[in-house]
């Protein structure tokens, strides 16, 4: 018996006889399909299936597809040599009414645009609702200090702060190096090498260290918050917490927000030191400015207010990052794709908000002549 599916086409006065034999199963069907697709019968087709040794659902579907196509063109299609197994299989597959369902049409771009704008608007409203709910529970816990989750706060301080030190150190050091390199070339043209200290001192402490720390934290801890809470949402852990009376805001949101607000100024301070050190290394290498000279000059050049402004930004950035990323975590739905979707969204949103907040600070402080 042949192992391959075979179809031989014979022509008898306009009547096409299709002799089917062999095993009409998935692995062997593609050759038959290409033969059938080239077939242009005149008036009638007779399928002789008596020699088919093996048949599966794909074989039947192939026959059915062409049987229908032929009949549609007004060609009579007949079947001979059907045995019991064939008919049983056929009735199993085609017994239920094969209701034809028309797939939904693609909506127009205007519809999609409107829909997206609306969902984005809804997102903003939901975020404000989320903030409101969070603050209600903050005031509640503040009036019941025993409910504050100190352990959880400490654990998050470790995971978002201590564990982040290496990456913050590397980023801040490199930023210091880059700023020093770029400015020294310009300053040397005027013989004003010593002003490298002012440039590095002020730009790093006031703007760059807070910003680079916030971006690293948003990418590192913000995404982790979203993924943690999203995973808990998917496994119904959050529902379980609610039924036991453990409020997710008290147990999940505020410990993260408070921990990050404590940690962020400390990380910025750390980034200040490492960044300035990076600048010092380059200043010494490029214009022979010794460390002692650098530090001596820094004491005069760097007013306390620049450093304070940088540090004060920390809790604001931390609040935005932690709130957005926990909020996005709660939006995760039950499918696996949404975790990735909302994690991406959370990082993009928090970095954007940090930059927007930084711009607001700049405007405000300039107006206040600080």
């Amino acid at each position: 018996m042949s192992n391959n599916a075979v179809i031989t086409i014979e022509d008898h006065d306009g009547e096409t006889l299709l002799r089917c034999s062999g095993s009409w199963t998935i692995p062997h069907l593609s050759t038959i399909e290409s033969k059938l697709s080239r077939l242009r019968p005149d008036s009638s087709v007779i399928w002789d299936v008596s020699d088919i040794s093996e048949l599966d659902s794909a074989g039947i579907a192939l026959w059915h597809l062409y049987h229908r196509a032929f009949e549609k063109e007004g060609i009579t299609s007949e079947l001979i040599g059907v045995n019991e197994t064939h008919s049983k299989l056929y009735s199993l597959l085609y017994s239920s009414t094969n209701d034809t369902f028309i797939p939904p049409a693609h909506p127009s771009w205007l519809y999609s645009l409107g829909k997206r704008s609306y969902t984005n608007m809804q997102g903003v409203v939901q975020f404000i609702t989320f903030l409101g709910e969070a603050f209600v529970l903050l005031f509640y816990t503040l009036s019941h200090p025993s409910k504050i989750r100190y352990r959880s706060i400490v654990a998050h301080i470790f995971s978002t702060g201590t564990a982040a030190l290496p990456i913050i150190a590397v980023s801040a050091f490199l930023i210091g190096v880059v700023i020093a390199y770029q400015s020294i070339v310009q300053l040397q043209k005027f013989g004003a090498d010593i002003f490298i200290v002012d440039t590095i001192g002020i730009s790093l402490t006031r703007e760059l260290a807070p910003l680079i720390t916030a971006i690293v934290v948003a990418g590192r801890s913000g995404s982790a918050f979203t993924a943690q809470i999203g995973a808990m949402k998917m496994t119904q852990e959050i529902d379980a917490m609610k039924t036991m009376g453990f409020d997710p805001f008290i147990f999940l949101v505020w410990p993260r927000v408070i921990a990050l607000m404590i940690v962020m100024p400390l990380l910025i301070f750390f980034a200040d030191i490492i960044g300035i050190f990076g600048g010092m290394v380059i200043a010494q290498a490029q214009s022979n400015l010794s460390f002692t000279e650098f530090i001596h000059r820094l004491q005069g050049a760097l007013a306390l207010k620049h450093y304070m402004i940088g540090i004060i930004k920390g809790p604001f950035f931390a609040f935005l990052i932690a709130m957005v990323s926990t909020f996005r975590g709660f939006q995760v739905s039950s499918n696996t794709e949404s975790i990735g979707f909302y994690t991406t969204k959370s990082v993009v949103n928090s970095i954007f908000l940090v930059i927007a907040c930084d711009a607001l600070f700049s405007i405000l402080l300039t107006e206040l002549k600080l």
Partner: protein
């Protein structure tokens, strides 16, 4: 003698120091509905996972469709994987794909059939498991528990496998749907000549659908055979599992 599809001999499985299977054996013949039974933690799901190459075992031999799983090459394993279908307990449909795409994916990867025929086949499989046609455009997150099971069964049947593994096929279904599911599986066995291996807890399924089974407990196979044979055995786990003498199954 009927053809043996799966044969396990002296299988030992251990996770660290915890022994799950202590020299267990079982034989599954062609065209039968075979169940792995046992209480929670008896290692029946582990045994099923070993049969479908998701889990390795420490010693013994396990033969599936003529391949020795301990000595199988990656190419042979790939070939073997196209000859079976697996229905996971939670469906495990790919959540980023619609039901239709979940089924069509197998045809696209493993056959060179035309898109038109693939479309016809997807519609067929959806009909076969009793789903409405519009379900093929739905995503797994939009389906009910029963529909997920049916869609997952349609996917498992896509390549017309000769061997079907079902992990708790009726768990989470209402009694009527469970019986319909059982009937469907029996019908498929009769008409497509399938061999079906399942893990189940459903006493109705055990009573009405299963030909032979292995009862696992105490790291061993306590009993293997037909229900009527096993009920003759006097063993505390048999008594406990089938709730003999109380309101459970009578022989």
């Amino acid at each position: 003698m009927r053809k043996v599809i799966i044969e396990g001999r002296d299988i030992v499985t251990a996770f660290g120091d915890t022994i799950i299977h202590d020299h267990i054996s079982c034989t599954i013949y062609e065209n039968e509905i075979y169940a792995l039974l046992g209480g929670s933690g008896s290692g029946k799901s582990t045994l099923l996972r070993e049969m479908i190459l998701l889990q390795s075992y420490q010693s013994g031999t396990l033969n599936v469709l003529g391949y020795d799983l301990a000595a199988i090459t990656p190419l042979q394993a790939q070939k073997l994987r196209t000859q079976w279908g697996v229905l996971f307990q939670s469906g495990a449909l790919y959540s980023s794909l619609s039901v239709g795409e979940n089924i069509a994916m197998l045809y696209r990867e493993y056959t060179d059939l035309s898109p038109k025929l693939i479309d016809e086949l997807v519609a067929l499989k959806i009909d076969l498991v009793g789903l409405p046609q519009h379900a093929r455009y739905l995503f797994p997150s939009e389906l009910s528990g029963g529909m997920i099971k049916r869609a997952a069964l349609a996917r498992a049947l896509a390549l017309d496998p000769k061997l079907l593994f079902l992990d708790e096929p009726t768990s989470g279904l209402d009694p009527l749907s469970s019986r319909q599911f059982d009937a469907l599986i029996r019908q498929l066995r009769d008409l497509l000549g399938l061999t079906i291996v399942m893990v189940t807890h459903d006493l109705d399924t055990i009573h009405h659908s299963i030909d032979r089974f292995a009862l696992l407990g105490d790291k061993k196979v306590i009993a293997e055979g037909r229900l009527s044979e096993v009920l003759q055995i006097d063993h505390p786990i048999v008594d406990y599992f089938f709730q003999k003498g109380s309101y459970g199954i009578q022989g």
